[in-house]
Symmetry: C2
Subunit: 159 residues, 2 copies
DNA sequence: CAAGTCGTGGATACTATACATCCACGTTAG
DNA sequence: CTAACGTGGATGTATAGTATCCACGACTTG
């Protein structure tokens, strides 16, 4: 079980957009260079975040991406769902209905104990991620780093 | 992010062993046929469970697998750790130290906010799975099914 | 209006991991 | 001894994630 590393990219980019002064979109080239990521592939994940309504994309020169809502209204779970999808990592294969010990379909009307335990664990995981918003994360970024980013992006963007 | 379906196999087999009368080992062929699983591949997962100390394997004729401890002392998390490994699905790539916006190593001494949020969520997931033991799951298996299994395995095993 | 910038979305190739099988070997009951 | 059973390594296949490219439409600027 491995989480797509696109989630890490998405969180970092969202965090950077949350740090940036509002209303100034950052082009994907700046985001990609800032973290040393492949621009073309990062574009896919930014599209996913846009489709999910977390980011807003402005085309044309001096365009780019900005947060679609205040950072306090975007949770880590939102980002994860947009990039990784909300599906549970556990997918039941209904093996109890296979083989010599197969259960009859009428005995499998409701989800079995194994599946429901997995569902509950998945929900606990999601709740933990839903409890954290982007601005809470921004506040834990070291001041020196935030200042450097703000200065760099302020001078890079207008070029 | 997808959980190995070997976890489902391991849980079902462990559950079946918990249902079976104690002391009577089930050979892997019986387990595989009972759920219609590839025997050779299932063997890998059973080995993992054995190495983790959850199952006990007896070689030779009339050998097989049995639980190494009472079902009440084996949690779902034990099975998952044995087969899938205890690692977190989120693996930090340290992209904050890459690209034009790279942070200096001395600014990355302790895990950042993103990573720690992920760790907490992973722990919440694990705690949820640790809270459930095999015998709790056995009790939720329909009586009819348990009876059928017990009868079938009682007549199949001695052949 | 023309040109250059930027996001969109599809097609394609590469890579890591999980899935699956096979076989040679050591151990044990009968 | 012999047949049944688990162990462990080597090997091949399938699937999902990673990465790149290109044609297109939208927009801003001059
Ligand atoms: S629903 Fe439960 S019993 Fe059926 S295959 Fe899934 S885990 Fe097994
Ligand atoms: S530790 Fe935090 S900042 Fe560094 S790469 Fe991982 S998620 Fe990003």
């Amino acid at each position: 079980m491995k989480l797509s590393e696109g989630v890490e990219w998405g969180l970092h980019c969202a965090l950077l957009l949350a740090e940036a002064p509002a209303g100034v979109p950052l082009p994907r080239r700046v985001l990609a260079e800032h973290y040393g990521l492949p621009e073309a592939y990062l574009a896919k994940h930014l599209q996913a975040l846009t489709r999910a309504g977390l980011l807003h994309a402005t085309p044309g020169p001096s365009g780019g991406f900005r947060l679609a809502r205040p950072a306090g209204e975007i949770t880590v779970l939102d980002v994860l769902d947009a990039i990784e999808g909300p599906a549970s990592p556990f997918v039941c294969q209904e093996i109890r209905q296979q083989g010599t010990g197969a259960a009859r379909p009428e005995e499998c009307t409701r989800p079995c104990a194994i599946a429901s335990v997995m569902v509950r664990a998945h929900q606990a995981w999601r709740e933990s991620l839903r409890a954290v918003t982007l601005d809470q994360l921004v506040n834990r970024v070291p001041q020196a780093l935030r200042k450097r980013n703000r200065a760099k992006l302020g001078t890079d963007a207008p070029s």
